[in-house]
């Protein structure tokens, strides 16, 4: 096995394609940081376009550090798909895999040498990308903020999530004798995963969170009925129109199970709410993924949600408010705001999840998929007459 690892590492180190991707990994984030720097200093509202001195808040620094460095997941995926397919595929087209078997190596050792070396290569490329992002942020003056290491932990999880793709590409490349099929499949997988990572985020709300939201909302309706703001019929209409099944759409039913069992929703979970939660003071849940926020922001086109969101967002939140002793100071004032407070949501466990727990969930899901996909590829590689 060690000989095969040495063999593959040497091949990778001599691969021009690998070094081209490494160069892209190095240059791309620097250019991205430069682009953000340009945007941050460009004053488009003056009579003449002009540059203003760079002034970056800590929140912005944190935000840009995250989005530029984690972009390796999408930026590199198609490149590594191509690299793995061509690299492993060459062993078939040039017959080297036969050499390895004839030399006396077991199929197990050959397969896992591919998996291990490709994973290592992809980790190296990811690290180049992340470090280059930090370099780019530093030289452009935006600066780097890792939120006391919390961001580094999340980037570490991101690399493990990325390795699921790495193993998928390697397994596919190892079980096809011809190069074209895995190339097409892997690029397709990389492309679809990138799209899915955004789509899954729209359907990540747990059903219990929606139920919790409905319960809170209904309590509010009761108060509104009591104060004769709306009548019972209107409430029934609302409940019928915006019940649990209406809020959890067909798209949710399709994508939520996939979101649950795969790590594809990573970028989404750590994207919108994840990034903003890193920004100190920006949210009430600095260390939690807020599903309540998902309900508001991701489904706000629906009237019911919009109605409440409007209340939620337009008025000053009052964390001190106690729903048990609630009294409406003035019905004409912002509609029953206190029942939509963050505190109210905070009482419901299903509405939020700590990012440290989420880190573990994504680590677990990713490792499980690495084992499943890697094992599936191994079973085929071992049995099939590929040589």
């Amino acid at each position: 096995m060690l000989k095969l690892l040495a063999f593959e590492f040497r091949r990778i180190s001599k691969s021009i394609f690998f070094w081209i991707i490494a160069a892209i990994s190095f240059i791309w984030p620097v250019i991205t940081a430069g682009f953000y720097r340009l945007i941050l200093t460009l004053d488009l509202f003056s009579d003449e376009i002009q540059f203003v001195p760079l002034s970056v808040t800590q929140d912005q620094r944190l935000y840009y550090t995250w989005i530029i460095s984690v972009a390796f997941m999408t930026s590199l995926s198609i490149f590594v798909a191509l690299f793995t397919c061509l690299h492993v595929g060459r062993d078939y087209t040039d017959g080297i895999v036969r050499n390895k078997i004839i030399a006396g190596h077991s199929r197990t050792a050959i397969y896992f040498s591919y998996v291990i070396t490709q994973m290592c290569a992809h980790v190296v490329l990811s690290l180049i990308y992340i470090l280059s992002a930090f370099l780019g942020l530093t030289i452009t003056g935006i600066g780097v903020d890792t939120n006391h290491g919390e961001m580094l932990a999340r980037l570490g999880v991101a690399i493990v999530v990325f390795l699921v793709m790495s193993v998928t590409f390697t397994a596919l490349s190892a079980i096809f004798r011809r190069r074209a099929a895995p190339v097409i499949l892997c690029i397709l997988i990389a492309y679809v995963s990138n799209i899915a990572s955004s789509v899954f985020g729209l359907y990540s709300t747990p059903p219990q969170a929606v139920q919790d939201y409905i319960n809170i909302r209904n309590t509010k309706y009761e108060l509104m009925v009591r104060d004769e703001m709306i009548d019972e019929k209107t409430v029934k209409d609302y409940e019928a129109a915006f019940g649990k099944n209406k809020l959890l759409t067909f798209g949710w039913q399709v994508f939520y199970p996939a979101y649950l069992i795969t790590p594809i929703g990573f970028e989404s979970d750590y994207g919108a709410s994840g990034v903003t939660s890193l920004i100190g003071g920006g949210l009430e849940y600095p260390k939690e993924l807020n599903y309540a926020q998902n309900i508001f922001f991701k489904d706000e086109s629906q009237f019911d949600i919009w109605y409440h969101t409007k209340v939620f967002t337009e008025i000053e939140l009052d964390p001190e408010a106690d729903p048990e002793t609630y009294e409406i100071p003035d019905p004409s004032e912002a509609l029953y705001k206190y029942y939509m407070t963050v505190d109210n949501f905070k009482r419901v466990d299903s509405m939020h999840m700590s990012f440290s727990k989420l880190n573990l969930i994504y680590l677990g899901k990713s490792l499980a998929w690495i084992v499943v996909i890697g094992g599936w590829g191994y079973l085929i590689f071992r049995k099939k007459n590929l040589f």
Binding site: F7, R90, I96, N99, I102, A103, N385, F387
Partner: protein
């Protein structure tokens, strides 16, 4: 590892099925140590399949392959099956370096020596993809012989080569066998070439070995047969026997026949000195191909 050291490979009742198709049917043969073992058979007879099984690329459906050496040790089997397995985007030397790493060998002077041995010592950084077929074959053999394997398995190594390339490969294989003591199992469609190389033959037909024979035995059953026409046959026979030929007289046709190869001038001179007058000489040769055709019955497309 076998206790018996006089064979390098022993095929015991090996069968191989591809789905419903049986490629090998209870095949058995023994490859003596130090031999050049030629596998002769038509297309689809099972030559490549048995070579793939011996080299570990496939497993037999039934039967066993016994090795007269430790076949688990990396590099004890070298093979060039179907096409040379080389990285076309690397030089000959880089390819050998990869093979050395593959086998866990120390990269030392033996690497350049191997290249020189196959006549590729001066190819420099030229990519293997730009090599001629003969050069690629030689590089494939160089890769296969890294680490001095106990046995070298070569499937059609001279296929598609020009006459010069064929001679180079033939000389190389003889050198490997004689100088390095490597046992070679070889198949080829060019039976005349195979007959110049092999010390032993196995004739394969429909997945079975139908005949195993040594080269010298083949010479006895076939080889060159010469008919001498003379008025004094009883005087010619001792002359021919003295020259190492096996001579016999057929009283019916009154022709003296002799088996074996000879120098005609020497024979005529010796006969003349013995006072024998040879009126006419007719030769006919039973070569490997003729023998094979006779054996399998019908036209050969081997």
């Amino acid at each position: 590892m076998s206790e018996n050291g006089d064979f390098i490979i022993k095929i015991n009742d090996v069968s191989k099925d591809y789905g419903k198709f049986r490629a090998l049917e209870s095949m058995s043969f023994t490859v003596p140590k130090g031999s050049i073992y030629g596998l002769v058979g038509r297309n689809g007879a099972g030559k490549t399949t048995i070579m793939r099984i011996i080299s570990g690329l496939q497993s037999p459906t039934k039967g066993t392959v016994e090795y007269g050496f430790d076949n688990k040790k990396l590099g004890n089997v070298g093979a060039l099956v179907e096409l040379p397995s080389i990285y076309s985007n690397y030089s000959a030397k880089d390819n050998l370096i990869f093979q050395y790493i593959n086998l866990g060998l120390k990269i030392d002077g033996s690497l350049d020596e191997n290249l020189r041995f196959v006549g590729l010592g001066n190819t420099g950084s030229k990519r293997a993809g730009k090599f001629s077929l003969g050069m690629r074959q030689r590089l494939g053999i160089a890769m296969a012989m890294c680490g001095n394997p106990e046995v070298l398995i070569l499937d059609e190594p001279i296929n598609g080569l020009d006459p010069q390339g064929i001679i180079q490969i033939r000389d190389l294989l003889i050198k490997l066998n004689k100088e390095k003591g490597i046992t070679i199992i070889i198949s080829s469609h060019i039976l005349s070439e195979l007959s110049k190389l092999a010390t032993d033959f196995a004739f394969i037909e429909a997945g079975k070995v139908i005949k195993e024979i040594k080269a010298e035995e083949l010479e006895n059953v076939g080889g060159l047969v010469t008919e001498f026409y003379t008025g004094t046959p009883e005087q010619l026979i001792p002359v021919l026997n003295a020259k190492g030929l096996k001579a016999a007289f057929d009283p019916e046709s009154r022709v003296v026949t002799a088996k074996g190869y000879y120098n005609l001038t020497n024979i005529v001179t010796a006969a003349s000195e013995a006072g024998v007058n040879i009126a006419r000489v007719v030769t006919r040769e039973t070569d490997l191909e003729t023998y094979f055709v006779k054996l399998v019955g019908g036209e050969s497309n081997a």
